[in-house]
Amino acid sequence: MSIKNKKRLIYPGLLILVLGSIFLAQGFGGGRYQISDSLSLFSSSTLSPSERIILFEIRLPRVILSFLVGGSLSLGGAALQGVFQNPLVDPYVLGISSGAALGAVIAILSGVYLGFFTIPLFAFSMALFSAFLVFHLGKVGKKFPLEVLLLAGIGVGFFFSALVSLGMFLAGEDLHQLIFWTMGGFWNSSWREVKMVLPFLIVGLPVLVSFSRELNAFLLGEKVAESLGVEVEKVKKWLLLVVSLLVASAVAVSGVIGFVGLVVPHLVRLLGIRDHRHLLPFSFLLGGGVLLWADTLARTILNPVELPVGIITNLLGVPFFIYLLQKRKKNP
């Protein structure tokens, strides 16, 4: 019974933690923390116009965007790990990250300008293109055998990465911008990026959660799932489609941020949560929180220089993950 009670408490708890994180992160800036900046979220009347712009047009959208991107990546990772029944799968397994990077390279090098959204648009389109390419290559008859899909994703990923490297080699003075993009970060975040990611989440999160029972059935193997009434191929198609859109939108606005989508679902499982009805929303909230704090660290730790957040996630996340694995090995 204690487990059930714990589960009942953990949702409001996590929600409070997330809101508290947004509140606290809003106070970090210029290498220090100011409670007044956090409190301005509740009463902004005393602020000067320039303060207002810094806090509400730059800092707040960035905090929220990092949360949404982290949430999307973790949610996507958790769903794909469920579909592939493989805990080593990350949300980029369908070649989405290298596709998006290639899109950004094309946008930057070609000099095409279609307004403010040029780079995210190119990244998003190429991310989806690579996902569909992987689907197409991974299709055998009417089915999507998982190993084939996985191999197709790896193949397409390598090919696009090679093109990205080629682009970088030829980039000249655009190289700096390209490198920054491929490392991932939230430098230019505004409400527009938030608006780009949010619709995919608003649709994607409930749709993915609605597939929880199917994902649970997948734990017993595809054959058993099918015998239980799961239309395996249809479910796979839907999940891959939704995750592709979700992750593509996230990558398009933030660049390639590693670790979060792979490891956060693991952390949630290490907490003993394996039922996808909880695993998916938990991964979303925890992933959002983790990236929010990683980004806060990235923009304050070496003030006035900003680190790409991808470096932070990898540097801090992987050792933490290894520590948790060791602990689990000792007392499973």
């Binding site: 609605s210 029972r213 649970n216 059935a217 734990l219 017993l220 193997g221 054959k223 058993v224 099918e226 015998s227 239980l228 009434g229 799961v230 239309e231 499982r269 394996r274 039922d275």
Partner: protein, 414 residues
């Protein structure tokens, strides 16, 4: 009871190879049908077809009076549950969570488990005696416990037809019987059951009907007592079986004897033995491809019993009686047909001495008589040397003393 499942001319091909060819059979409510056959006969494919996991290449399946191809996946799963041979590995869910998954076809996308679902899960776990470990992780259970949880999961689907693929393989005898008990309970509850069994005797002991599959074809289908005969299962597996009756169930019980060999006939041997001296030779010679005859031996002699079980023609004398002239005459006629006469190291007494006279008579008629060297040992002689004298005479007449049979028959001279 009415027919629940009907298969008509059911066929399935896998990339042009016919895996199943026109199977026609039916299963009634509350009937347990056992499917048996050698590896690769198409047993698992049959279950996959009946579960709707693959589409038949021809023929039709009727489930509960409805043509199954019109059933949605979900409807199919409401009626038919499957227990697969392999159990999932590394499954970190509690047994109860696993069993609850059986409610999947009964729940809508946004629906939470209702009270009735919990009741069904509880019932399924009770009937399979898995309630005790409902909170334990599936990955931590033993093989037999896992299999029972998987059966409970299938039962939580409330199936009208339950399909099982070798549910007892990898289980010890006790756990096998536990599984069979569960199946018999369900059968009593009116569930139609089709199960593949590796063990022929589980079919003959527990099933109502047997479906014998060989190379994708139905060898036979019908009540166990009618279908499961030694000659039928011999055809099925290419193995000779000894059919006896199980002392409790009074149903046929099969003991595998040996591979049926299609070797060229190597000739016929008449064996003179008794008291168990012939038993090792019989097996050796049959394996080597000879046909045998035997005699004279007393009834209840262990050689006589084995020969009868192996289907070897035997000339018998009443228990513990000396061999009468008429029996000896019978043995002579049988031995005449043989190409070789073999004398095994047998204890000689007044009763069975006429066997040596028989050998002497045959060697005089230029039959090849082989005496195993050990037979000459005086410890076998309870006739104060008389048996030895007779053996000497046989050797004088041309009987050959040999070290052992396999060297004799494998040497090129023979």
């Amino acid at each position: 009871m009415k027919e629940y499942l009907q298969a008509k001319d059911l066929s399935f091909s896998y990339s042009k190879r016919k895996v199943l060819d026109k199977l026609t059979f039916s299963v009634k409510e509350g009937e347990l049908v056992g499917v048996a056959g050698p590896n690769g006969a198409g047993k698992s494919t049959l279950l996959h077809l009946l579960a709707g996991l693959i589409t038949p290449g021809g023929g039709e399946i009727i489930i509960g009076g409805k043509e199954a191809r019109f059933l949605s996946r979900r409807m199919w799963s409401k009626k038919v549950a499957v227990v697969f041979q392999e159990v999932p590995q590394n499954l970190d869910l509690t047994s109860q969570e696993v069993v609850t998954m059986g409610r999947f076809p009964h729940l809508g996308r946004w629906q939470r488990e209702r009270e009735v679902d919990e009741e069904k899960v509880f019932w399924a776990m009770k009937i399979t005696s898995t309630t005790v470990f409902s909170d334990r992780l599936f990955s931590e259970l033993s093989g037999g416990e896992k299999q029972r949880v998987m059966i409970a999961r299938a039962l939580a689907q409330e199936p009208e037809l339950l399909l099982l693929d070798e549910p007892t393989s990898h289980l010890d005898v006790l756990h096998q019987l536990e599984i069979m008990d569960i199946l018999l309970d369900l059968r009593a509850g009116g569930v139609a059951i089709v199960s593949v069994f590796h063990d022929l005797n589980l079919v003959s002991q527990f099933c109502d009907k047997a479906l014998l599959l060989k190379e994708g074809r139905m060898l036979s289908f019908g009540r166990v007592e009618e279908v499961m005969r030694a000659e039928e299962v011999e055809k099925l597996f290419g193995v000779e079986f000894l059919e006896t009756t199980h002392p409790f169930s009074l149903r046929p019980f099969f003991m595998p004897l040996r591979k049926i060999k299609n070797e060229t006939h190597r000739g016929r041997i008449h064996l003179i033995c008794g008291g168990g001296s012939g038993s090792p030779l019989m097996r050796e010679l049959l394996e080597a491809g000879f046909s045998l005859s035997l005699g004279v031996v007393n009834q209840l002699d262990s050689d006589e019993e084995l020969a009868r079980k192996l289907g070897i023609p035997v000339v018998q004398e009443k228990p513990f009686s000396p061999f009468s002239p008429s029996t000896m005459e019978e043995a002579y006629r049988l031995a005449q047909k043989a190409d070789f006469i073999v004398i095994a190291p047998t204890y000689w007494g007044r009763g069975n001495l006429p066997n040596l006279d028989l050998a002497e008579r045959l060697v005089r008629e230029n039959k090849v008589v082989l005496i195993l060297k050990e037979a000459l040992d005086s410890r076998f002689d309870y006739t104060e040397g008389e048996a030895h004298k007779k053996l000497e005479r046989i050797i004088e007449e041309g009987g050959e003393v040999i070290e052992d049979l396999s060297t004799y028959f494998s040497s090129p001279s023979s």
